[in-house]
């Protein structure tokens, strides 16, 4: 037995040797070099002309004296943590924003040899967009679609969330079903589905209602209505997150309020309008912002954003189709302003309603 143990020990001897060698080397390196360097930097930190700290004071260039108190230290650490975002915001958001705004007043092209060449054209890019035969109807269709689809999604998601909030079986399953589109919906998948006609409900598409609207009210309402009906499911798929938001809001409502109302004789119908809706009212505007952003930024083939990309990349300087970077920037800016205006309209409508009450 003892023999076996010694055999095993012998077997592990090289391993032990290897590790002791490695750690010994690391240790001696640490003592000889790293510790020395650390000591030197420590010395340099306290004995240099640029920055040093003395008691509770930070001294810069030996004449600017900053008193370090708790508040200042906190501000320093706060900015240090947020620094990442500040740099990113300046480099990847603020500067590009100004630059693309500047470019939108220019005719700008990119070439490999001499970078960006831009000539000032004033409002020509914007005028071109308003005169464009392809873009202008698209902008109109976008506004129409938004104005019809956003209320639809809000109503739909309130309805679903109220339904799920009932004491029903398989609550988790229903939440999973209605959240599923958020996970799987990507541009190519949806456009394939739309090509196959899987995003329409066949009975909705060619209903008599649409014909009636077309004949009696006019084309302007019928076109966006048709667009919505043909992509009904695609639009409802944007309700995934709003449903969860409303559901989370509903679960925060105190059930004793409902009980008190029921005792006082309020019907379920009254309870919905008088308790449920007011309590989730603030969430409606949050959801409107989310829906407008999500729907606007969803780029399908043939949408405005898609065209902006094409205008930017495809074609050459001599083709009539290529309007360059400035044109694309102008499209993006108009789109952004429309988005903000649509959001403003909806949120304004909500607040007017609130004042009436």
């Amino acid at each position: 037995m003892k023999k076996l143990m010694s055999e095993i020990k012998k077997l592990f001897l090289p391993v032990k040797k290897f590790f002791s060698g490695v750690f010994g080397a690391i240790g001696s390196f640490w003592v000889k070099h790293v510790r020395k360097a650390l000591r030197k930097t420590g010395h340099a930190l306290t004995h240099n002309p640029v920055i040093r700290s003395e008691h509770s004071r930070l001294i810069l260039f030996s004449f600017i004296k900053i008193k370090v108190n708790r508040k200042r230290r906190e501000a320093f650490y706060g900015i240090a943590f947020v620094m990442l975002w500040i740099i990113g915001y300046l480099v990847f958001t603020l500067y590009p924003m100004f630059y693309s705004f500047y470019l939108s007043f220019h005719e700008a092209y990119y070439s490999l040899e001499n970078g960006v060449t831009s000539t000032y054209v004033g409002f020509q890019n914007y005028l071109n967009i308003f005169q464009s035969e392809t873009l202008l109807p698209l902008f109109g269709a976008y506004i129409g679609k938004m104005l019809l689809a956003v209320p639809l999604i809000v109503v739909f998601s309130i309805m679903i969330s109220v339904l799920i909030n009932n004491p029903i079986r398989l609550k988790g399953f229903w939440r999973m079903v209605f959240f599923l589109p958020v996970v799987i919906a990507s541009g190519p998948v949806i456009s394939e589905l739309a090509d196959q006609g899987a995003t329409t409900l066949p009975s909705l598409e060619d209903s008599a209602l649409l014909l009636y609207v077309e004949e009696n009210i006019g084309h302007w309402l019928a076109t966006p209505m048709e667009a919505i009906l043909t992509s009904m499911l695609q639009i409802l798929w944007f309700a995934g997150i709003p449903i969860l938001v409303f559901l989370a809001g509903l679960q925060k409502v105190d059930t004793s309020i409902y009980e008190a109302a029921a005792i006082d004789g309020a019907s379920p119908w009254d309870r919905f309008w008088k308790i449920t809706l007011p309590s989730i009212n603030p969430l409606i505007s949050v959801n409107i912002i989310y829906i407008v952003v999500a729907m606007s930024l969803f780029a399908e083939d043939g949408s405005i954003l898609y065209l902006a990309k094409i205008h930017m990349l495809v074609g050459g300087p001599d083709s009539t189709f290529w309007h360059g970077y400035g044109y694309a920037a102008a499209i993006a800016w108009i789109y952004f302003f429309l988005m903000v205006i649509i959001m403003g309209i909806f949120i304004g409508l909500l607040s007017i309603k609130k004042k009436d009450r």
Binding site: L84, S100, L180, L305, M312
Partner: protein, 309 residues
């Protein structure tokens, strides 16, 4: 006696149908379930359609009588789609790319959210509002200038062009992620951090040793969301990184790559809807599997943003 019994059964029936309070009665429940099932059907219709169509043979596709139950189950559609999408390889590539980006986005938004939540510094409110405002700013507004920046830095068509903004908290929907962390770190009692400070821990150590372990659920939520959103993003990805980086982008080019793989004229080579749908289903399959295992985190996510008060 008989009459009393009658009225009693009537009352019982009424109780059963409408309950004490209408909302606990049978009729109400029936309506709720019917509505839920029909809305669920509408909602899942595209997915069901995709799944059923993907196993259909050509005859079934043409036959208008066949809608939901295919007469034969044709696996060869999937074999073709697998070949066109180069499945094992492209899933690996997509996953490794998306993992890199989403890990960066998660880490950076945790740091930034902690900074906003824990410390007070000048202009904090303004910065916070600007941060939230980036949510509604379309990336298309900044894309022109960003492209020029990347071109000057030689980052065009590399994954770094997506990873860099993610590291600096300007990635896809970064505002939401920062908000989630902000809400979470604000809810942790400050006393915890202060006691560590008194014991002599530096701010970095407090962040790594105290805040991070507490924030693991939020980290998971943010990571999952950024994973899914970066996976599904195609517009910016195809512009900055390349046209065939992720699986959805490969799906976009499905028709073209199908024709090069199975040129027209070879027997049985025509691209039909069944193969397209099989490709579609294969594209969403990885996310679907991920969702099945982690749906709890997705569904809980809304509470973590704290927008419900």
């Amino acid at each position: 006696m008989e009459e009393k019994k009658m009225s009693q059964t009537k009352l019982r029936l009424k109780r059963f149908l409408f309950g004490m309070n209408f909302v606990d009665g049978f009729v109400y429940k029936l309506v709720v379930y019917v509505l839920l099932i029909s809305f669920g059907y509408i909602y899942l219709y595209p997915v069901l359609y995709m799944a059923v169509t993907s196993v259909m043979s050509v005859d079934d596709l043409i036959d208008t009588g066949v809608k939901w139950v295919p007469t034969t189950i044709q696996i060869s559609n999937y074999v073709r789609a697998l070949e066109v999408l180069e499945i094992p390889k492209s899933i690996w590539e997509t996953t490794s790319y998306v993992l890199k980006v989403s890990v960066c986005a998660t880490a950076s938004s945790a740091i930034i959210g902690y900074g906003f939540a824990r410390f007070d510094f000048p202009l904090k409110k303004l910065m916070f509002v600007l941060m939230l405002a980036t949510f509604i700013l379309p990336s298309q507004v900044t894309m022109v200038a960003n492209m020029l920046i990347y071109k000057n830095l030689n980052l065009m068509s590399t994954q770094a062009s997506m990873i860099l903004p993610a590291i600096f908290g300007q990635g896809l929907n970064a505002a939401i992620f920062i908000l989630i962390f902000y809400q979470f770190f604000r809810a942790i009692p400050k006393v915890l951090m202060e006691s560590a400070e008194v014991d002599g821990a530096g701010q970095m150590r407090i962040f790594l040793k105290i805040a991070m372990p507490l924030a693991i659920p939020s980290l998971i939520v943010v990571f999952l969301f950024s994973f899914v959103w970066y996976w599904n993003e195609t517009y910016i990805t195809s512009l900055y990184v390349g046209d065939t980086v992720t699986l959805p982008l490969k799906l976009q080019a499905f028709k073209a790559s199908y024709e090069t793989l199975f040129p027209a004229g070879t027997p049985g080579a025509e691209l039909n809807e069944a193969i397209l749908m099989a490709g579609n289903l294969l594209t969403i399959m990885p996310l679907l599997i991920l969702y099945l295992f982690t749906q709890r985190y997705f569904v809980e996510s809304i509470d973590r943003t704290g927008i419900t008060g």
